[in-house]
Symmetry: C3
Subunit: 132 residues, 3 copies
C-alpha cells in the first residue's frame, strides 16, 4: 500500500487526459473553432468539466504528496483513490446534467479535506521533530 500515492498520481494524470480528450472531441464534433470556448451547450459543459478537473487537480496533487511523504503513504493513497472515484463520478454526472454534480463534487472535497488534515499533521510533525 506504500506505493499507492504514485499509482494515484498516475491515474490523476490519466483523468486529466480524459477531460482534455472530451473537450477536444466536443470541439471537433460541434465545430467550435479555436480560440472560442463557447457556442454549443455540450461543449461548454465538457470545457467547464475540464477546467474544474484542472483546478481540483492543482489543489489535490500537492496535498496528496505532502500527506504521503510526511503523514502516512497508505492512508494518503486510500484517500487519493476515493478522490479519483469522486472526480470520475463528477465527470460522468456533469456531462448528463450539471445540476446533479453536487454529491460527486462534495465527496471529492471531503476526500481532499481529509488528505489536507493528514498533510497538516505531517507538516506539523516535521517542524516538531526537526526544530529550527
Amino acid at each position: 500500500m506504500i506505493h499507492l500515492p504514485e499509482l494515484v498520481t498516475l491515474l490523476t494524470v490519466i483523468l486529466l487526459f480524459a477531460a482534455t480528450f472530451l473537450t477536444g472531441h466536443a470541439r471537433s464534433k460541434y465545430q467550435i473553432k479555436a480560440p472560442a470556448t463557447s457556442g454549443h451547450p455540450v461543449f461548454e459543459r465538457v470545457y467547464r468539466i475540464q477546467m474544474n478537473t484542472l483546478e481540483q487537480t492543482v489543489m489535490f496533487l500537492p496535498t496528496l504528496w505532502l500527506a504521503a511523504r510526511f503523514g502516512n503513504p497508505s492512508w494518503a493513497g486510500i484517500l487519493g483513490l476515493v478522490w479519483l472515484f469522486a472526480r470520475t463520478w463528477y465527470m460522468i454526472v456533469y456531462v448528463r446534467d450539471p445540476a446533479k454534480r453536487g454529491p460527486a463534487f462534495g465527496l471529492g472535497m471531503l476526500a481532499w479535506g481529509l488528505l489536507l488534515l493528514l498533510a497538516i499533521y505531517g507538516v506539523i510533525r516535521l517542524f516538531w521533530l526537526a526544530p529550527m
Copy 2:
C-alpha cells in the same frame, strides 16, 4: 527554517481552496448556473481571481520545489512566504477593485522571479557538480 518550503506548499493549497470557495460562494449567491462563468460582475471577478491564482500556482510550486531542493531551502521558504503574502493581498484588492491589483501582482511576480533565479542557480550547480 529548512522545512519552510513544505509549510509554504501547504499554505498555497489552502490559498487555492480559498479562491475555489469564493467562486463557489459567488456562484450560488448570484445564481450563476453551471457551466456558465459569467452573468454577474462580482462572480466574474472572483472567477478571474481563481483562474489567476491557479495559473500563478502552477508556475510557483515547481519553482519553489527546485529552489528549495537544489538551491537553498530557507531562502526558498522565505521567498515563498513573500509570494503567499502577495497573492493573498492580490485576492483581497482584486475583489474590491480589479484596477488596483497591480502592486500585489507585481510583488508576487518579483518573489517568483527571485525564486526562479535561485532555482536556475540550483539546477546549474546540479549539472556542474554531477557532470554527465
Copy 3:
C-alpha cells in the same frame, strides 16, 4: 543526462511565464480591462494559448516526474525536451493562425504519451519490486 528532468521542469516554468507574459501584454495593448477575457481576437488567442499551456503543463509535470524517478531519468528528460519544443512551436503557430496548431499539439501529445508509458512502466515495476 540524469539531471535533464530538473532542467526540463525549469524550462517548463519559463514557458508558462512566457504564456502569462503574452496574455498580460495583449491585455494592456488591446486595453482589455480585468476581469474580462474577451474583446479582441488577438487577446482571445493568447489567452487561449495560456490556458492550453496551463492544462498541458498540469498533465505533463507529474508524468515527467514519475517517468524520471521510477522509469528512466535520461529518457524522461529527452522526451521532456521534445514536449518543450512542441509546446513552444504550438505557441508560435497558434498566435499566427489557430487553425494550424494541429501538428505542434500532436507532437506534444505524442511526447506526453511516451512519457506516460515510461511512467506506467515505472509504477508497475515499483509495485512488482516492493510487494505490499
